[in-house]
Symmetry: C2
Subunit: 200 residues, 2 copies
Amino acid sequence: MAPKDTRARIVHAAMELFWLKGFNSTSIADLLSRTQLNSGSLYHFFPSKQDVLVGVLEAYRDGIEEMLLKPAWEGVDDPIERIFALLALYRRLIVETDCTYGCPIGSLALELHEPDPQVRDLLAANFVGWTNAIVRQLEAAGARLPRALDHEGLAQFVLTTMEGGVMQARTHREVAYFDRAVAMLRTHFQMLEASAKVVA
Amino acid sequence: MAPKDTRARIVHAAMELFWLKGFNSTSIADLLSRTQLNSGSLYHFFPSKQDVLVGVLEAYRDGIEEMLLKPAWEGVDDPIERIFALLALYRRLIVETDCTYGCPIGSLALELHEPDPQVRDLLAANFVGWTNAIVRQLEAAGARLPRALDHEGLAQFVLTTMEGGVMQARTHREVAYFDRAVAMLRTHFQMLEASAKVVA
DNA sequence: GTCTATAAAAGGATAGAC
DNA sequence: GTCTATCCTTTTATAGAC
């Protein structure tokens, strides 16, 4: 097996297991069993479990465009609709997992209570990659939104809506909690668009 | 030591340790060392670590009024201002912990990936207790808000704002992320109040 | 790069005396 | 109700051959 394949297999398995069980509840043995590797191979690429986590967070960060935005925005051109199309993708994930879905980054951000700087930076970089994609849509919406709008703040609020909605849908095991969060955000955008019209 | 004192000491220590380190990263040994008890005492009251968790979640649920709402609303009568006063309390917690604060319930809700029904129900009950307090304020605000407003949905959106803001402030180690989430919610309420006036 | 075997420690939980 | 001692499993990580 070529090195890159093995490394990629480990990262791929870890992405899935950390998402399903969390970082602390995933053991090295879980990873070895899932990848059908022996500990020697794993420790050859990753000196410690923390390093696997770093690999996972880098993979998420580098995959935002291809793994998340591209599928979400297929056939959607309107910038504001793209924001809600992204949220609709999370809704699908919630439904497909019987409302057990958790955002892999958000869950790790709350599970790890003393992450070292490298891990913290990677968690933050993932959030920034996500919100930057929203900022681009807000900018593309141009005059439909108020001139004085805080684009970054609103983009972070979209992330807040997703994370809070996912958390509550998961806790109650009801997608309606996510839907209501998105509905509130939709109202928010409609009111912003209405106020932009009045001024213009 | 009277039984109730010992039990309460364990629950109190567990509330703090689960909050600081998470459930999985808190060991029985941590609890014993913090309470200065021996394992016999702990297992006399709690047959397993899960049962300690149940005790903790019950304590949070039963303490919402006294531990959370009462301090947050001291001297604040206006119902809408009470909502933002509650968020201001979380802001204080974020600042006091150097932006490492995590909502104890939200963190557990994402950390525990396969909670048994009793634990899930208690997590949900904590969220419901929180949002119900907000619903009461929205009702008290009466005609200042639109007649057709979904009170429960908006109350859950306030919780969403808190949880998402806390998550991002903690990840970036900057309270400004929480502040921007609250600012967006403030704008939301202002736009709702404006639209209620127009109709009236 | 990958294999097997194993070290070394930490974890949850129990037993039985007092 | 609390004490001490300890069992048993899981866990991360290493050693050294191939």
